[in-house]
Amino acid sequence: MASAIVLILLVILGAPLFTIIATSALIGFYNEGIDLSVIAIEIFRIVDTPILLAIPLFTFAGYVLGESNASQRLVRMTNALLGWMPGGLAIVSLIACAFFTALTGASGATIIALGAILYPAMKQAGYAERFNLGLITSSGSLGLLFPPSIALILYGVIAQQMELEQSVTIDDLFLAGLLPGTLMLVLLVAWSMYRSVGEKIPTTTFDAKELVSAFRESIWEIPLPILLIGGIYSGYFAVSEAAAVAVFYVLVVDVLILREVTLKQLPTIMRDSMVLVGGVLIILGVSLASTNYLIDTEVPSRLFDFIREHIDSKLTFLILLNIFLLILGMMLDVFSALVIIVPLTLPIAVGYGIHPIHFGIIFLANMQIGYFTPPVGMNLFIASYRFNKPITELYHATIPFMLILFVAVLIITYWPALTMSLVELRH
């Protein structure tokens, strides 16, 4: 008990999470009289998980794309395609952000990279400052459910460690995220259209010439998502192979053909992207140890029995889960939340009859809102820093978006078919 209090205090004081998780595992093993070198054996289990290869590769590909001018081309392309609609530029922002976040992982990179283009553009088009800020801040985590989201891959890896009856494959998770992610996008698009009509933002006319020229400019990026998604679902290559293809493709296009990223830049991009991967993998490594300890000592099933005594309906459980995850999402980034909380909560959710794939989507959908929930969502701070606005202004700006996405999360949570139908269709 005393050690738990000390550990919580250390978390609050900002100790690196991997040291906290490792310490709790070590204390557990020590109390059970298990040789402490077991922690290295557990970390070494990373080697037995083939899918993990996808994480460094996709992250690196995303970082290279982030260094190129792909984000500008993406905005131009979507603008030519959808800019003529009411709320056109807002829709463009939402879709471009979702794509970019899916490719680069929700790490705040979207707000930094795309915000620089979209924020001034929306301002010029006449959107209210607050709407503009709110839209860009909340879009910064909007691709979490779309492939090849690194968060989805990590969830799959953790769920596979739990020895559940149902299988949780990465390609099923990718499919499962599509409709819930689209739902979030559609609701936000509808809200943007409503607002822009209300504010009488002038619409632009559709320009076929611009579309053709934007299409030509993006000709090298357009095949990438088709190649990846098509390759995975035709069974032509596995997810980790798709990641290797993505790296190869992005390097050939951005370094050799377009020459927007130089060979000289690559070592720095590699280092920066692997610092992110290292931060995630070391947490995963030590948590393999703590998870194993939890399962050995049957903590999740005891937790389940305890909760079962107080909550008997699945519905109440889901409501409490949503509240818990929203608070969690404010404090923790998505990767550590996955690694720490999924091993504890997934067995309980399965006990209440929730499919592990559905649970993963609920988990990430909540986390996505947590990213910009006042007072401490991470993207609020990034946006406040990037756009030089007081944090309180961002609180006000993001509230409508938060409410809309909260509605989406409720639909996703209580309507499992939205998540599961594509998966079931495939099998």
Binding site: L13, G14, I39, A40, I46, P56, A244, M274, V277, G279
Partner: protein, 166 residues
């Protein structure tokens, strides 16, 4: 800190960065080679897949070492943002000391694990002994501990950090 020390540290920095780049580059080449040979010559080399899985561990832990250099490990910094500037260095030092001790402890037990793999002469794949593939665990945790020791001596006093990995 004296200039010789700085030179040594920047030398170590370059070795770590170089290793990271080398591992990732070989991963990319091996993974692409494997796809091409599997699809066009209908068979890949059997040792590539286990090697790639080992390299994921190596790249991850090396990345974690480099992350420690600039104190970029994932943490909850909600509360430290509001700490008064006077207290912050003490809090940071406490945290660094704790991290240093834990990483040394893990490094030590990982070394014992590597030694037992060596004694049992376990083979990982294609004749490569398992202790060699696991060597990165004690090495990286020791290096991380070393980094925390450096931070402990001269902490990077940061503004409420814009935690990002971008």
């Amino acid at each position: 800190m004296s200039t010789t020390n700085n030179k040594i540290i920047s030398f170590i920095n370059r070795i770590e960065d170089g290793l990271l780049v080398l591992i990732l580059t070989s991963m990319i080449f091996l993974a692409i080679y494997q796809i091409i040979s599997r699809n066009f010559f209908s068979e890949g080399l059997v040792w590539i897949d286990p090697l790639l899985r080992t390299l994921v561990l190596w790249v991850g832990l090396s990345g974690a070492v480099v992350a420690t250099r600039s104190d970029k490990h994932i943490r909850i910094d909600v509360f430290t943002k509001y700490l008064p500037g006077k207290i912050l260095p003490y809090v940071q030092r406490t945290v660094y000391l704790f991290a240093l001790l834990i990483c040394l402890l893990i490094g030590w037990h990982a070394a014992r694990f590597v030694y037992s793999e060596y004694e049992y002469a376990t083979v990982a794949f294609a004749g490569v002994p398992a202790w060699v593939t696991a060597l990165i665990i004690p090495v990286s945790f020791t290096l991380i501990a070393f980094r925390y020791a450096l931070l402990l001596i001269s902490p990077e006093i940061k503004k409420p950090h814009m935690d990002v990995k971008s």
